[in-house]
Amino acid sequence: MAVIILIIITALFFPGIILRIKSIASGRKGPGVLQPMKEIAILFRKGSVFGDTSGIIFRISPAISLSAVVCAMMVLPFGNLKAVISFEGDFIFFSYILALGKFFSIIGALDTGSSFEGMGANRETFFSMLIEPAFFILLATFAMFTGHTSFSDIFAGFHISSDHFILIYSILAVYIIIQIAVVENSRVPVDDPKTHLELTMIHEVMILDNSGFDKALIHIGSYLKFAVFGTLLYNVVVPAGINTILQIALFFSIQFVFALTIGLVESFRARNKMNKNPKFILTISAVAWIAFVLILIMTNKLT
């Protein structure tokens, strides 16, 4: 239960920190840290406009994608505490419930009958197909190293051995998880959330037609997804079994550093050319295979 409260608190501040970092890096002062929450409150007050070609799928897809993220939150552990529900193979459930939310947002976009949303749906499906192997190879290496197949067991057993390889494995795992989070949340360098040119958008153009309450649900879902990946980062970096106050402090500082990284990358890097994106995403899977070879060395299978 504690992990859910912590994720919600993080999601309240996460997008505001990214916005603030981007503003400070461009020399401005920027909006307040709670500005995205105020925008969600405005969206709750507004009415909705629906396209005249959209049907029932368009109306239910934001709710489904938000509940998918909420259900994915329930299998994440936090330090010593197990997840709300944990079972063997729960990382497969985690990935596929997020894929279910993405599936519904894609067909909700196809439901509007506009060519832009079709383009965004096409690109989003393609890129999420290419990033899935990276996540699973990384988790397979975790499973191979610790011998467990549940998030809670993997991260409880991760830092116990005194192997000096763990440092570089953690660095590789953090790098891969940050790249996966960038692709899943559609940030720079895969997709620019601030672009106004529809032909260059991937995720933004899928939610172009949503308004009011639906748009608020979609934004809440994306902020929670950020916090979920930050929790994964925390679980990889911090060993289980230390003082609880220290754990909570480290959790928030790791989320802050994650938001800082994303803000800085967005300020200083341009979005990839669209036909370079598949290669960029496949590079992440290739680095995951290197992590696999590293684990083979660590578990003495390659010597």
Binding site: V49, I60, I97, N122
Partner: protein
């Protein structure tokens, strides 16, 4: 498969991980395929004259389908209810009494998944109910879809199946062999005239792996087929030649 990774040796681990990658790519392709099929057929504006008259059949006709769908959803959401009796029956029928405890861990996972799916359905229902009451107190209107300022939008601007799959086709071109037949536009042609466009994808394995050897063999057989003339006197000649050959070979002790 994931559990056996830690106990596998090097070659087995590589094979297992490659199998896992293949399964994941299959899952991603399945999402691609279903969004394309469902989206092109059912969603958006009707893409042709005939499609605009399409409508669902009467409820009494789709009732059997609805019952099947309810069962499919039940098996997905409440799987232990169905899996446990099936395992017991299979163990009793084939005398596999020692595999029933081994499947207990997977049954526990399945029951947890069912609990989580139940939570998922509850949250979706709560959100949709709240949304219904929320929108009743607000102004809800309909308008045309954003076409980047282009106001004469038509169904022909929607994505077709080929354009939806274009990204993936471009990547998998060696395997798919997609070809286009189109008259190319010349350099001085500023306003292109009317053209036909046809694209198709041929079966690469059939043309390269099966057709080429089959063509060679059938070419060889055609040369032999010269002997099939359709006249009885030629066939009697063949029989006579055969008997003569056998006689000669026996005479010289070769057979």
């Amino acid at each position: 498969m994931f559990k056996s990774l830690s106990a596998a040796d090097l070659n087995q681990a590589i094979v297992l991980l490659s199998a896992i990658t293949g399964l994941i790519l299959t899952g991603g392709l399945a999402v691609f395929c279903f969004t394309k099929a469902f989206g092109i057929v059912f969603l958006g504006q009707p893409r042709s004259e005939k499609a605009s008259f399409a409508h669902e059949a009467d409820t009494i006709m789709i009732l059997p389908e609805l019952i099947t769908i309810i069962f499919i959803l039940l098996i997905g959401l409440a799987s232990p209810l169905f899996v446990r009796p099936v395992i017991d029956m299979a163990a009793a029928a084939f005398n596999l009494t020692d595999s029933v405890p081994a499947s207990a861990t997977s049954l526990i996972s399945l029951s947890h998944i069912s609990i989580l799916s139940g939570i998922f359905v509850v949250i979706v229902t709560l959100l949709l109910v709240y949304r219904y009451f929320h929108l009743q107190r607000r102004i809800v209107t309909t308008g045309s879809v954003w076409g980047c300022g282009y106001t004469a939008s038509s169904p022909k601007q929607q994505y077709t199946a080929t354009s939806y799959a274009y990204n993936y086709n471009h990547l998998a071109k060696p395997l798919l062999g997609t070809q286009k037949i189109m008259e190319e536009m010349e350099e001085g042609e500023i306003f292109p005239g009317e053209r036909d466009f046809k694209s198709f994808s041929e079966d690469v394995f059939r043309t390269r792996v099966i057709d080429i050897p089959v063509d060679r063999i059938s070419g060889l057989l055609k040369k032999i087929a010269v002997m099939q003339t359709g006249e009885i006197r030629h066939y009697i000649l063949y029989a006579f030649v055969f008997i003569l050959l056998v006689l000669l070979l026996t005479f010289f002790n070769l057979i």
